[in-house]
């Protein structure tokens, strides 16, 4: 059994998401190889991951922007030599891997949270309201990995060989136009230790910033949001935590003015400690919160910030 992990593109370095996917891949019980699409420098960085025996680097420009039309034929072409192909369940992995699966005539096992056996996995369904144990009967496995439930492999200590691979290059049907990146000095949501998250109650972008940011600054926390806060334009789309946004599992998740809809809980209920601040004592968020404070966030949060 040899598994190929499609690495999350991350400039010249290794993404935490890739390290989690490597852990899942090694639990399949065989060799782990990593495919890096992008720079040679990134190839070197990935060679250091503990437990990885080979790094394949495809440095053609066609593979630089995560275009599935170009990447899927590359990966499907390499898949011949592998029993399993994995990727972290990031927006890149979710975009590319099902395309690979279909090219291989395989049903993808999406978003696994546990490896139960060589072909058996656990995955959440219905927004995490049920956990299914599933077994694949396909000759090859194609898997995306929920990164918050697997430990990160050590980024250093390994000494994989690095090989260059070539693929068919550009399919010519799609073009990367640009990325409107959200720039922030804060910790990344999916790997943050503490997250302060705001909901619809924050009123508007300015109020969100005035209330949530100082608390997050004090705690060195990442900032998240409910769908309602994102839809209303308080914060950018990639702040959304939930079933259809980011899945997070920090040490501490502080939900402020968030009711706790099942779609939101799906994204954060694996947090170690959940703190909720809401003026409605019956808000469903309190059913999952370890620590709750009932009160008006506009008085409570500034007071909290000043007392920390």
């Amino acid at each position: 059994m040899t598994a190929l992990v499609f690495a999350e593109p991350h400039g010249d370095s290794v993404a935490d998401a890739t390290l989690a996917a490597v852990t899942a891949a090694s639990q399949l019980g065989g060799d782990v190889h990593v495919l890096v699409a992008g720079s040679d420098a990134a190839g070197q960085a990935h060679a250091g991951i503990a437990g990885v025996s080979k790094v394949l680097v495809a440095s053609d420009d066609a593979y630089a922007h995560g275009l599935a039309e170009n990447l899927a034929p590359l990966i499907a072409g390499l898949a011949d030599g592998y029993d399993a192909v994995l990727a972290p369940a990031t927006t890149t992995g979710k975009n590319v891997l099902p395309r690979v699966a279909a090219m291989l005539d395989v049903m993808q096992v999406s978003d696994i949270i546990n490896v139960e056996g060589p072909k058996t996995f656990k995955r959440p369904i219905y927004a995490g309201n049920a956990i299914a144990t599933v077994e694949s009967s396909d000759p090859k496995l194609v898997i995306t990995v929920r990164t918050t439930t697997f430990e990160k492999a050590a980024a250093e200590g390994g000494s994989a060989s690095v090989e260059t691979v070539a693929g068919p290059g550009s399919a010519g049907s799609s073009e990367f136009v640009g990325l409107d990146a959200v720039k922030s000095d804060r910790p990344e949501l999916t790997s943050a230790k503490i997250i302060v998250s705001g909901g619809r109650a924050l009123k508007d972008g300015e109020t969100f910033e005035q209330v949530i940011t100082p608390l997050a600054d004090k705690l060195g926390a990442a900032i998240g949001a409910s769908r309602a806060a994102v839809d209303a334009g308080y914060v950018p789309n990639d702040y959304q935590v939930g079933q259809t946004g980011k899945i997070v599992a920090p040490e501490v998740y502080i939900a402020i003015g968030i009711s706790g809809a099942i779609q939101h809980l799906a994204g954060m209920k694996d947090s170690k400690t959940i703190v909720a601040i809401n003026k409605d004592p019956d808000a469903p968020i309190f059913q999952v919160a370890d620590v709750g404070l009932v009160g008006d966030l506009f008085t409570v949060v500034p007071e909290l910030t000043s007392k920390l």
Binding site: A68, E69, T91, T92, K94, N95, V96, L97, P98, R99, A101, A102, V106, M107, Q108, V109, S110, D111, P124, I125, Y126, A127, N129, A130, I131, A132, T133, V134, E135, S136, G172, S173, E175, F176, V177, G178, L179, D180, I194, K218, D231, P236, N237, D238, T244, E251, V252, I274, V275, F286, V288, A289, D290, V291, G292, L293, G295, E303, L304, K307
Partner: protein, 248 residues
């Protein structure tokens, strides 16, 4: 240009799913079912493209039980022109759905197939990407903006790092994210009108697709339940708790 919109009948998003006591699955008996929310967004976007003159016809298609006719009638009531039900009482996996959609696309030759990014029951997030692979056409997944530009479509995508824009040659596959639009409600007159719109009945066999599952679900369990914790009296008590957690 035609637009093909696959819509799935799923548990209503407001209903909290219950796992069956014997661990065989989620209990769907007497549970409210609706159109997958992302598919409503897809129908809405297709209708807007038709209304703007960029598209000429919107065809809704569902793979599922006879009851999925209701879901298709909802799409017709929103404004879709006609519908196709590929009827089967078996659960059909995304790969097989994609194969059926590919066969329908080969007949209908749509300029865009507009799917939801994710069905809220299986949370697979793969059918659109698979269809694009099988059709060997480009894909614009997780779309928050779609604009037709001649023989291309420009798609703005919600990605982990922000918003990405790609330009795809038509025909193309697009999957919708939450912020693409706000779906309209069907008006009563349109619900009435929808009853007489064409709805073709087909089966997977009509398209030569084998729907035998590749993945077996051996067990379905409730997730670990979180116990509600403590409600603290005031900010000072909360500060103490956070300090105890080593947070502050």
């Amino acid at each position: 240009m035609k637009i093909l919109v696959p819509v799935k009948r799923v548990i209503d998003y407001n209903v909290k799913p219950r796992v069956k006591a014997d661990g065989s699955g989620v209990d769907l008996a007497n549970v409210k079912m609706s159109m997958n929310p992302f598919d409503e967004i897809a129908v809405e976007e297709a209708l807007r493209l038709r209304e703007s003159g960029a598209a000429t016809e919107v065809i809704a298609v569902s793979v599922g039980p006879a009851k999925a006719q209701e879901t298709l009638r909802t799409a017709l009531a929103m404004g879709a022109d006609r519908a196709i039900l590929v009827e089967t009482e078996d659960a059909v996996e995304p790969l097989a759905v994609a194969k059926i959609l590919k066969a329908i696309a080969a007949e209908e030759e749509p300029g865009i197939v507009m799917l939801g990014k994710q069905a809220i029951d299986d949370d697979s997030n793969q059918t659109g990407q698979m269809l694009a692979a099988l059709m060997d056409r480009p894909q614009g997944t997780f779309a928050s903006k779609v604009a037709i530009e001649g023989d291309h479509v420009s798609v703005t995508r919600e990605v982990d790092g922000g918003l990405e824009t790609v330009k795809l040659a038509l025909p193309a596959v697009v999957t919708t994210d939450l912020r693409l639009n706000e779906p309209r409600y069907a008006s009563l007159p349109n619900i009435m009108k929808a009853k007489s719109k064409p709805l073709a009945m087909k089966t997977p066999a009509d398209y030569g697709v084998d729907t035998a599952p590749r993945i077996t679900t051996t067990h379905v369990a409730e997730p670990p339940v979180r116990q509600a914790g403590e409600i603290v009296a005031d900010v000072d008590a909360l500060v103490a708790k956070l300090k105890a957690l080593g947070v502050a």
